[in-house]
């Protein structure tokens, strides 16, 4: 199983810099996600790994071997495309068998791989159907089976769930993860859906403006965002700026405890679900939406608004004054005040 090493990759399209000095490393059998907003360069990076694009600078290594100038057909990778990219003139069986046949795998072995994968994906009854006779979820499974049939060291996923409805997305998401654990391949997954990234990944690389702005385990990215952009992009975040004196920052809602010495000027962040009712802070309910398992509440004070997510069995009225607290260890000081805007 290969390690993936990307070293100082830069990609320019004319005067536009799509990727700038991107470096990352992936260990064998890991599931990593390239996460970021549209246009941040994540698909460009995936295309560079696959070999469809050649970086302007930098290098790509798979299993320690430089593959930067290697053509896609000669790389140990397989891609699952956003649009599935199934061959419309081939039935499900032949779509899945395409890769092994291309790689000159023995006929019996090809048949065995195809049968096993179709069975694993629950597609054995559809093997003679053409792709246009399948549902979106089934097509996605065929695309996954087709990619896995060549037994690649590295599987690349380009937003594979974005065309599926919410329920199917959850189902296919867990299927992909289970398969990855079972078969042990290394996966690079591109998405703009932060929930998908947090749920599936061993490690998340968050990109913005062609740069990796933060990487780490999903929990670290979520609870310890380094920049305002990361805090804002990954889930909902409440941000306050100001000086920290004696372990607290003065906010319109009251003193917010921060695990830090005195700082002249800083920005802090905390998650809406970190708050609990009752505490030194207070605000007036401007809106409250029942979401089943939790109550989504917006509090306002002195023209500033924050968001709380509290237990769904609570009942708050608009206009009601609510007191709340945030545990000190859930308040994070953001290292910079970078807005994360794209660079060119």
């Amino acid at each position: 199983m290969p390690d993936l090493d990307i070293r100082n990759v830069e990609m320019r399209f004319g005067g536009f810099c799509a990727l700038s000095d991107v470096s990352l490393s992936v260990s064998s059998g890991k599931f990593i996600t390239l996460l970021g907003p549209s246009g941040c360069g994540k698909t460009t990076l995936l295309n560079i790994i696959a070999g469809f694009l050649h970086p302007t600078q930098g290098s790509v290594l798979i299993n320690g071997k430089g593959v930067t100038s290697l053509r896609p057909e000669n790389r140990d990778t397989a891609m699952c495309f956003q649009s599935y990219a199934l061959f419309p003139h081939l039935n499900v069986h032949d779509n899945v068998a395409f890769g092994p046949r291309q790689k000159r795998v023995a006929r019996a072995e090809t048949q065995s791989r195809v049968s096993t994968l179709l069975s694993q994906m629950g597609l054995d009854l559809h093997s003679t159907k053409l792709p246009n006779a399948l549902s979106g979820g089934q097509q996605q499974r065929v695309a996954l089976a087709r990619a896995l049939a060549v037994e690649p060291g590295l599987v690349l996923f380009d937003e594979p769930l974005s065309n599926l409805d919410a329920k199917l997305r959850d189902q296919v998401r867990s299927e992909i993860r289970s398969l990855q654990r079972e078969l042990g391949f290394t996966a690079v997954y591109v998405t703009h859906d932060q929930a998908e990234a947090l749920a599936m990944s061993d490690e998340v690389f968050l990109l913005n403006g062609g740069r990796i702005v933060q990487s780490g385990k999903p929990r670290d990215i979520y609870f310890k965002p380094k920049t305002r952009f990361v805090a804002d992009f990954i889930g909902a975040a409440n941000l306050h700026s100001g000086p920290i004196n004696s372990g607290a920052m003065t906010t319109p809602f009251g003193p917010l405890s921060v695990d830090s010495p005195n700082l002249s000027m800083s920005t802090v962040c905390w998650r809406p679900e970190s708050a609990a009712l009752g505490g030194p802070l207070s605000g007036v309910v401007s809106s409250a939406a029942f979401q089943g398992s939790y109550l989504d509440v917006f509090l306002t004070k002195d023209g500033e608004t924050i968001r709380l997510q509290i237990s769904g069995d609570q009942h708050l009225e608009v206009g009601q004054t609510v007191s709340f607290g945030v545990p000190r260890d859930r308040v994070v000081i953001i290292e910079d005040t970078d807005t994360g805007q794209a660079n060119a």
């Binding site: 000669n74 891609m79 495309f81 199934l86 061959f87 419309p88 790689k103 060549v150």
Partner: protein, 285 residues
């Protein structure tokens, strides 16, 4: 009013007129080949015109010649069009101009094109004069009216290439990039991508191109008359010979006309079937 009858009535003004004219012309040709509508005597239903033609060597030579020119021209035009279409699939600097140049022959009348070619390849044409001037050969070489019909085939390919180009470019452009990328990602090189993805996905356009070019080339008169070998006739030139001042044999000309239609129909069927078989074979090789 029953729905079926209403549909027929609604289609009648357009489709009805076309069908009537087509059937009338076909009927006239068939009937004339069997002795009816005789302009040189009494109408007499007979097989003698067909029997006479079947015993005529010039008829079989013309049939063979037209078939040869049509098959080779259609195959070559499509074979040349495919790489051009794939090359120009995605726009690049100058691709618009190249596309326009490829389509330009469509706007040049066949007679003019043949005349221009004669200027180029005749005994004292540009090619001979130039090659003598640069010393490649000492005296002019005969290229005009060559016995293998290369000049006609060249003209047919040049003239029909835009048709193949237009039909194929639509089909090739409709193949999503991701599908080609997927094939490449799974190990397919350039040739494999062509035979396993591009060819099967554009087979209908290829069939249409081959059939249209085959029919056009099989019925060619102009190129044959101007640039063809003097000792060969195409079905069209033979038909005009029979119909014109040489024989005034309208019934014989009708036999040749019907033969040309049958050749076009059979050629189209055979070409369509062959393309399917070849595409399947190439996909599996």
């Amino acid at each position: 009013m029953p729905n079926g009858l209403r549909i027929i009535l609604l289609l009648t003004p357009g489709l009805g007129l076309v069908m009537t004219l087509m059937i009338w012309v076909l009927y006239r040709a068939f009937a004339q080949s069997f002795g009816l509508y005789n302009f040189n005597g009494d109408d007499l239903l007979t097989l003698s015109h067909w029997q006479g033609m079947f015993q005529n060597r010039r008829y079989w030579n013309a049939l063979e010649w037209s078939g040869y020119i049509a098959v080779v021209s259609a195959t070559l035009a499509v074979a040349v069009a495919y790489p051009l279409v794939i090359w120009l699939r995605r726009p690049f600097k100058g691709s618009f101009l190249l596309s326009a140049l490829i389509k330009a022959p469509y706007f040049v009348p066949g007679l003019v094109a043949a005349f221009l070619l004669i200027n180029v390849i005749s005994y004292h044409g540009f090619v001979n004069e130039f090659l003598i001037w640069i010393g490649v050969w000492d005296q002019p070489v005969r290229m005009q009216n060559d016995k293998n019909g290369y000049a006609i085939i060249g003209l047919q390919v040049w003239k029909q290439l835009p048709l193949a180009f237009l039909l194929l470019s639509g089909a090739v452009a409709a193949i999503p990039d991701n599908v080609l990328h997927a094939a490449q990602d799974l190990g397919a090189g350039t040739w494999d991508r062509f035979r396993k993805v591009v060819l099967p996905m554009t087979v209908t356009a290829m069939q249409a191109s081959l059939i249209l070019i085959f029919i056009g080339a099989a019925g060619d008169f102009t190129f044959q008359a101007v640039a063809g070998p003097t000792r060969e006739n195409s079905l069209a030139t033979l038909m005009v010979t029979y119909q014109g001042a040489s024989y005034s044999d309208w019934n014989g000309a009708a036999v040749i006309g019907v033969t040309l239609m049958v050749l076009s129909l059979l050629g189209s069927i055979v070409f369509a079937a062959l393309v399917q078989i070849v595409a399947k074979l190439m996909e599996r090789v």
